[in-house]
Amino acid sequence: MTYRISELRQTMRSKISVSNLNFYYGKTQALQDISMEIPEREVVAFIGPSGCGKSTFLRTLNRMNDTIAGTRVEGKVTIDEQNIYASGTDVVSLRRKIGMVFQKSNPFPKSIFENVAYGIRINGIHKNKADLHERVEKALRDAALWDEVKDRLNASAFGLSGGQQQRLCIARALAVQPQVILMDEPASALDPIATQKIEELVVDLKKDYTIVIVTHNMQQASRVSDKTAFFMLGKLVEFNPTQKVFQNPDERLTEDYITGRFG
């Protein structure tokens, strides 16, 4: 049954399409010949040992690696049929469409409220002040943070705990209503309850968003994702429906990694 559903899904439109992607930090190649179709309104999990290139790959999808000097991209990444590496691409509006939650939380030196409001303000999404407040509240609720901060919205974001800061960054990304959300280990600093809230959020967001989530937590990958990609040493080893990856993977390497034989 479940197989049929995932097969059906494979016929769905792909939101992001990557073909023959190579990526270099200076002379060292970090990604090798990666091709992948990320379907619209699904959750794709990236797993793999530390240093295998998950973050690097994620950051090629919103051209965040552009900010690192000496990097180079070969190949093609298209989002909604647009090659994002074509010359003349408007990187600013691309990033507006592709939200990102970073591996290390990075709040702005502003109040909690202003952190979430920032993206709304710069993109001029809100109609008026009340609307702005509503959007900030909704984003904070979605990120399971509202109850903890509603009484100190004007306090500094740096006063929050590490896990709260991470949820603030999630709220900040949600507030601008992107089409795709790239999450780099969003729950690595969170306790089980907050993690569960984030996982519920991810599943919930799937209705409207396409989500890519990097995780070191196998259970998390199996709980939230529709498809799972396994990376090793800069290569995409396997990309299949999550159930298949965890129960009956095509590749021996995948099985070894998932069962904890290395990693």
Partner: protein, 281 residues
């Protein structure tokens, strides 16, 4: 095993306490020198300070006189230098930090560092040839410009250093929300670096308030209250120089008093900027 461990522990404790004492002693030394200088100036200068002294202009020896016009001149020329020097310095610093990783940035950086090291009297001579000679007279304008020139490279380099301290992760966070580069710089990077930038600006202002040499050729001095920037202008430092090198004891006393006022003004600028830029987030 246990013995070596406790031996090591004993040694570590000894080294630690010696180092702590040493650093504390050096800290006391620094503060002591400052206190000594300030209290000496205060003792020598305090008795000559009066309201009259603060508002009067210099008079022939024996008839009193004061530093009112010198205070005004210093404030005007420092303000002129700040109005010109701060925006140029800060903007140049922003450029160097955010866009200056190229040959042009390296050239600017090198020249700024060289300019910081140029003796201030050379700056005075430069402005003298550039402004004073064509105008035919010394002026507050020339003095202010000389001070601005001294200020710009200092402000530019400290601004750059402070901006570089802002973590890249913070910039990326804003870029990821679809913020254009200039907004990232303006809304995120500058506020994060503001305390540091203000500290640099304050140090630069304190530095130029204490400059004498570049004003000798450019602003010269004046015995009168002067509100016009195109006229020779008095300044606290040049006035102190004049009083201190005069032959009479009353003049020396006034030099001490004027020095106390100068130190006081610099102190007030320091405190003010600290207060205005205190960390809110």
């Amino acid at each position: 095993m246990a013995e070596t461990n406790s031996q090591n522990h004993g040694r570590r404790k000894l080294v630690s306490s010696v180092m702590t004492t040493l650093t504390a002693a050096c800290a006391v030394f620094v503060v002591a020198v400052l206190l000594l200088i300030i209290s000496y100036i205060a003792i020598r200068g305090f008795s000559s300070i009066s309201v009259q002294f603060l508002i009067d202009t210099p008079k022939p020896v024996g008839e009193g006189g004061g530093i009112g016009n010198a205070i005004l001149g210093s404030v005007m020329m420092t303000a002129l230098a700040a109005v010109i020097g701060l925006p140029i310095g800060v903007l140049a610093g922003i450029y160097l930090a955010e866009f200056g990783n190229n040959w042009y940035g390296n050239v600017v950086r090198f020249l700024a560092d060289t300019l910081v090291g140029v003796p201030s009297i050379i700056i005075g001579i430069f402005i003298y040839t550039l402004i004073v000679v064509p105008m035919g007279r010394q002026s507050g304008l020339a003095g202010g410009l000389a001070l601005a020139l001294i200020m710009i490279p200092i402000v530019a380099r400290t601004t750059e250093e402070m901006i570089r301290l802002v973590p890249d992760a913070m910039r990326e966070g804003a870029l990821a929300l679809g913020a254009p580069q200039w907004r990232v710089t303006w809304n995120i990077v500058l506020p994060a670096a503001s305390t540091g930038i203000a500290t640099g600006a304050m140090l630069a202002i304190a530095r130029i308030t204490g400059e004498t040499a570049p004003l000798l050729f450019t602003a010269l001095n004046s015995r009168f209250y002067n509100f016009y920037l195109d006229q020779p202008m008095s300044s606290l430092t040049v006035q102190i120089f004049n009083y201190a090198t005069g032959p009479f004891e009353v003049e020396h006393a006034m030099a001490w008093a004027a020095t106390l006022i100068l130190v006081g003004i610099i102190l007030v600028i320091n405190v003010l900027v600290r207060f205005l830029t205190r960390k809110r987030f």
